[in-house]
């Protein structure tokens, strides 16, 4: 019997963070997604830090979704310390998150994923032939980053979002000028959906369980129940009872699965599969127009799902901003001990933070579960299935297919190892 054949990708380019993978090409293919992004031990060193530092610190888990980590942590801390926030704060945080989800999706779509489909090593090589795409990207990104920065002070590692509320509320005239820019990219967003829909993706059916936050009244971002396509329907507080995190020997990231070992998929595609009906009518029409319908079990369609979410987020931001008169607010935080968790929809899917705070406001315990941990086992599951289905192809083709698959999940290894 000959040795089983391996494919080793030491380094996966164009993803956020550091990972490679190893594929054993056997009748029973085996996959190891090797996440060697060095651990920074956030859960370790958050112990001993004061409650007000946590948002600023965890924002540094990820340079692409800082708003999500920050907001999730702050909500968890507010829960632990029994802090009530105003309706305006809830609303602002929603806009804040949506703006970041859109910007993050855009980077993934254009700079990380798209070169695959055009056959380029990276976006730089795309500049000469595909300038309109990139100009569109920049226009959209600038507008959405502008909104994040308006609310947060800066788009990356914002500063105004703190336990209790926002330290600064933008002036109406500043909202107005950003609003103008966002309205100007509506057409771009629609075009982006059409462009992505036109890309040819592998035909692949993955039997996955999808998980997302769900709310009766809206397309949930920062609040809601945790719901799955396998019938799970729990409150955020119940999260620890239903999700299990475990360490694997070849990765610094942990794998998180449903109680009982079921791998899950979170993220844009999961969200659409669970709450497509909560999207705005316009978005649903556009989806129908480009031939997207739920349930959709092809992970490569995660890209299209992201594009639709960008379109939806832009419309929602416009509505939310226009529906509210923003005012300066005062808030005061009383230091109290307690425990609390919070779950939000980060760009890449369900994000969970949990803290135990002592009576001086100092963190005693922390637990953070990121979208990529949630997706980890599902990515491996999909890769195995793909390799099995494509065993006949040459190794290079298999490698490329696998890379594409991993990228379709838009994994974030910086988040996953934190």
């Amino acid at each position: 019997m000959s040795e089983p054949q391996h494919i080793e990708v030491e380094y996966l380019a164009r993803v956020e963070g550091e990972a490679g993978f190893r594929i054993v090409l056997d009748s029973q293919p085996d996959i190891e997604l090797r996440i060697f992004e060095p651990p920074r031990f956030f859960e370790g060193f958050l112990v001993g830090r004061k409650y007000h530092e946590v948002g600023d610190i965890v924002s540094r888990i990820c340079g692409i979704c800082p708003v999500s980590h920050m907001t999730t942590a702050i909500q968890a801390i507010e829960k632990a310390m029994g802090i009530q926030v105003s309706e305006q704060t809830v609303l602002l945080r929603k806009i804040f998150s949506l703006s970041q989800i859109a910007a993050s999706h855009l980077i993934h779509l254009y700079m990380l994923a798209m070169p695959d489909y055009y056959g380029f090593p990276g976006v730089v090589q795309m500049i000469p032939g595909h300038k309109p795409h990139l100009d569109r990207l920049i226009r959209m990104k600038e507008a959405m980053n502008g909104l994040t920065a308006l609310i947060g002070g800066r788009a990356l590692h914002p500063v105004t979002n703190v336990p209790g509320g926002f330290t600064h509320i933008p002036r109406p005239e500043d909202f107005a000028s950003v609003l103008k820019e966002i309205k100007a990219i509506r057409k771009d967003a629609e075009q982006a959906v059409r462009d992505i829909a036109a890309l040819e993706v592998p035909d692949f059916h993955s039997d996955s369980v999808y998980v997302a936050l769900y709310d009766e009244t809206e397309y949930a971002t920062n609040q809601g129940r945790i719901v799955s396509t396998s019938g799970l329907d729990i409150s955020v507080d119940q999260y620890p009872d239903f999700f299990v995190e475990s360490q694997v020997h070849y990765a610094y990231a942990k794998q998180t699965v449903l109680e009982g070992g079921t791998p899950i998929m979170v993220g844009a595609l999961a969200r659409l599969n669970i709450k497509f009906d909560k999207l705005q009518q316009k978005t649903r029409d556009l989806a129908a127009d480009v031939g997207f319908a739920v349930p959709d079990c092809n992970p490569f369609h995660n890209n299209l799902a992201q594009a639709l979410e960008v379109f939806d987020a832009i419309e929602r931001c416009i509505q939310l901003i226009e529906s509210h008169a923003f005012r300066d607010e005062e808030f005061k935080v009383e230091i109290r001990g307690g425990e609390g968790g919070s779950a939000t929809e980060a760009p890449r899917g369900l994000l969970y933070h949990w803290y135990c705070i002592d009576r001086r406001g100092v963190v005693e315990k922390a637990n953070l579960v990121t979208p990529t941990s949630h997706n980890f086992l599902n990515i491996e599951k999909d890769l195995k299935q793909l390799v099995a289905e494509n065993r006949k192809q040459d190794r290079e083709a298999i490698r490329l297919l696998c890379e594409k698959t991993v990228r379709a999940y838009d994994p974030c290894f910086s988040c996953s190892v934190h």
Binding site: E16, E18, G44, E53, D56, I57, G63, P66
Partner: protein
Amino acid sequence: MGTGKRIGIFKYSSCAGCQFQLFYFQHYVLETIQAVDIVYCKMLQSGGEEDGPFDLALIEGAITEQWQADQLKRIRERSELLAPIGSCAVCGGVPAIKNTAHELDAQRRVYEDISVVHSLKAHPVDHYVRVDGYVRGCPPGVRDLAELVKSLLLNKTPRFLDYSVCVECKLEEAICVLVAYQEPCMGPVTNAGCGALCPSRGRACYGCWGPMKDANAKALADRFERMGLGREEIYRRFTEFGEPTVEWKPGQVKP
């Protein structure tokens, strides 16, 4: 393409935010990327020439594993210029908060089996190699990144700001939160560049740009103490973004 200036970008322990800021710093992006040759950057493109040589190597992230230190030394040998970008690489940043805890304790709080973990004390880049300049910030500001790229194109020594955040507060006329509202602001010992973001948005600077050269950390720590801040609180403020720095060491008196 471009000027033929060869740039290599390397990521160590970090959030990748500096690279995002670099590539996506708004409308300059396309012009920037085209003006230089990015010959190695894993987050931007597949392949690339990992071994250089580079006209400029940019290093993101703190050094927390031995392989990073080894690779860094190789890069230094193959680079005309080398600059850390962002607080993690410049002054340890957030990853260096772990230095405040007992290493194994911190590891055990995260992993059951720590035998597979090979983490070292977090250090900035200049702990291991000589550097030619610092692009500060968490994330670095557009001004400094633009200065870096333009200086490379013009063949000039980049001029990064070296004064305190207080200067920017005054240029922006942001009322001093330390003096006016008695908030423990790190601005006086923190390097400028953010445009006094926090003070002008109603909160005290938390030091994310890391220490200003010649900062008088002791005097500020004493001031905080006179304001009624406990030792522990002061310690935390001086270790959030500059644990391994000499400039802030005097403020890091263990409670």
